[in-house]
Amino acid sequence: MPGVDKVGADLLARKVTRRDFVKTGSLLALGATSFPTILAACSTGGSPSKSGPKTLKILQWSHFVPDYDKWFDPWVKAPPSQYEQSTVDMSDVVKQVEKKYGKQLDFARLTNFNPHTNRYFGFTYSFAPDPGDYRQSFFQQVGMANGPTSWEEMLTATAQIKSKTKGAVRGGIGFSPEPDSNMAARALIWSFGGSEQDADSNVTINSDAVVGAVDYMARLFKQAETAEVFSWNAASNNQGLVAGSLSFILNSISAYRTAQASKPDVAKDIFFSKPLSGASGVKPLASEHVIQTYIIPKFSKSQDVAKEFLLYLADHASDFVYQSKLYEFPVNPNTNAQDKLYGQGGWLDSDPYKSDPASKLQVLKDATTWSVNVGYPGPASPAIGEIFDKNLLPSMMAAAARGQKSPKQAVADTETQIKAIFASWRQKGLVGGTK
């Protein structure tokens, strides 16, 4: 390339003065600042027209079932009640959907409605159940082929499995600062008859029931688990179950769906259980694993389009259920997914995604009766959101399991933290209750 060489030699030979440098630098800076604009114009096929179609921008996470994203990609996870003061009132959308498809389930209502301010700050359209996931082959070895039905059974079985496998296969309930551990802690507390708050948003964490749940977790850790449970992220229990290192976890069906594609033999060995019972006379409950709630910020210029989209979404419930591979269930009782999902011979009776046996997911048929919102029996308020995001309940469990505090002390200390958070949000007028 002699021509190029000559140009290069000319440039090198030429003395660059400070003045030239400033001039060239200015041009480069101008070019650099213009470049993104050019790119944006190219990507939209030229300058946007004022009379063109309206655009809706949606912010959503990557789905736990990757195939769902392929279906949803033209369009998106929205955050919770802490944004209430900056969101558009959604009562019109909720009412319209309820008129067509029946009243929202209670836990959905408590997620997108603030009873203290009497306002729908978001629109909840689906949830993912959070059953127990277990490896049947391990549970068969300890005479529990159908999985555990109570927390005590689960402890006994996972401890025996750990002992039989010399520690290679362990229990999989996390104590870590991550969402799955948060949900497991709550499911256990509810099943022991306790809760963070009551229906009127009064703090109720310091109770014998919660102390009992913390004591149970400490025993579970000592007998059936190892210190790995303090270091997990949201994917760890899924990975451990599929890798054959964990015998029982609490999770949605996402790990199972992933295993179906990558490790069919493992998937065949994964089965599901209903929420485990704790204290006698207390209804066993599980936290919703994910509850899809959309908010529309007040600054949005596409509020009408956004609402239109949400109504469309509700109208196509069977699509989002199917495309999520039965990960997501609708929160209104009479959508077009109802019969297809729950009906006789429906998707939960006969999994269209080739479960073996086909009826493996039948256990989820009554998931709407045992799933509750974070914050149950009260609303998922900003205070509950902050407690969740600061991982206070898993840390409370971990403090007792690691022997740093007695269960009673761990609960008492957590109560102090929770009360401070409630007081702070009450001052902002977003949370009810007085205690």
């Binding site: 400070r18 003045r19 400033v22 800076a29 009640s81 802490q82 944004y83 209430e84 003061q85 900056s86 969101t87 496998t165 010399k166 520690g167 290679a168 104590f175 870590s176 600062p177 991550e178 190892t226 210190a227 790995e228 449970v229 303090f230 270091s231 997990w232 992220n233 760890s236 990975q239 451990g240 890798a243 290192s245 900003p382 959101g385 902050e386 995001d389 600061k390 991982n391 840390s395 971990a398 403090a399 690691r402 740093q404 200390d413 102090t416 933290q417 401070a420 958070i421 702070s424 001052q427 902002k428």
Partner: protein
């Protein structure tokens, strides 16, 4: 006919004036500094100002209005037991990490300033961790320390130091988790310190050491009496950079342990993020962040004093 000629002259003079303007130090200097100043004001100054404003308020992430509440947010922050742990951890992690860095960086400085084959390749390898964004390197460490897939566990299993299938929970035990976070902070700040110290070592006139050697001084005598005193000022620069990088970082903890086990590795950066951004209590998150300020201010003053002394020479 004289008017058009006068106009032509004016145009030429204007060009010359611009050229002369760019040749004047008092014009060109501020002009060259302007982009940096705009960048610093927009991305450091203004956010810092907002942190101060928010910390005296009841601001949340969900509202663009707030009230000033005086010192109430600070009182709540100081009473929070996790904040106390985070404050202690931030100081302890920084001190230990930088102590490790100084020892290793001095050794590396000697190695890097020596002459050997492949010196440039070794320098390149040592600099790599510094060029990698902390989030990326933390992810790599997360994988290496994972309870299920850790290559360290695999190696320990292969040499029968642990039973296969019963992994060491690197991030699940307090002492190991703390050691892991400190190791990551030291690993990522070590290269810069090593290069700074290498530059310091090469700037020491070789005659001083040669003369001392002739006089019978051994390695340690020369190290403590000649090298260390001459290296100390530049070592201070390396330490100050390391303190800033470690004290303010939240990515290493957030990605590696998320503050766990329990709150054993919680630091000010991560707790500020959990409280202010994730939890929505922006004011308290800002107040937690403010506690980094006195240390960083002290570091800045030391750096400026060091710079002004260098100018004096």
């Amino acid at each position: 006919m004289s008017e058009p000629a006068a106009r032509r002259t004016v145009i030429i003079d204007e060009t010359v004036r611009v050229h002369h303007l760019l040749d004047r130090e008092e014009v060109l200097g501020p002009l060259m500094l302007a982009p940096l100043l705009i960048y610093l004001v927009a991305l450091v100054g203004l956010p810092l100002l907002f942190v101060f404003i928010y910390s005296f308020s009841d601001a949340t992430t969900g509202s663009d209005t707030f009230n000033f509440v005086g010192l109430e947010t600070f009182q709540k922050t100081i009473a929070d037991p996790v904040f106390q742990v985070a404050l202690r951890n931030t100081v302890v992690f920084t001190v230990i990490a930088q102590a490790v860095v100084i020892v290793l960086a001095t050794i590396l400085g000697f190695v890097l300033s020596a002459n050997f084959r492949g010196k440039w390749f070794v320098r390149f390898l040592i600099l790599l961790p510094w060029t990698t964004p902390v989030a990326l390197s933390a992810l790599a460490w997360l994988w290496m320390l994972d309870s299920l897939f850790s290559p360290f566990n695999w190696i320990l299993g292969q040499v029968h130091l642990i039973d296969q299938g019963t992994p060491v929970a690197w991030l699940g035990q307090d002492s190991l988790a703390v050691a892991s976070v400190v190791a990551l902070q030291a690993w990522r700040t070590l290269p810069l310190a090593a290069v700074i110290l290498m530059a310091g070592l090469t700037s020491i006139p070789p005659e001083l050491n040669e003369q001392a050697e002739v006089d019978g001084a051994g390695f340690w005598r020369r190290f403590f009496d000649i090298t260390m005193p001459l290296l100390a000022p530049i070592m201070m620069v390396a330490i100050l950079f390391g303190i800033v990088a470690t004290f303010t970082d939240m990515a290493a903890v957030y990605i590696l342990t998320r503050g766990g086990p329990g709150d054993a590795t919680q630091v000010l950066g991560s707790w500020s993020f959990y409280t202010g951004i994730q939890g929505g209590s922006l004011a308290q998150g800002a107040a937690i962040g403010i506690f980094m300020f006195p240390v960083l201010l002290g570091v800045c003053i030391l750096m400026l004093r060091r710079a002004s002394r260098t100018d004096a020479f």
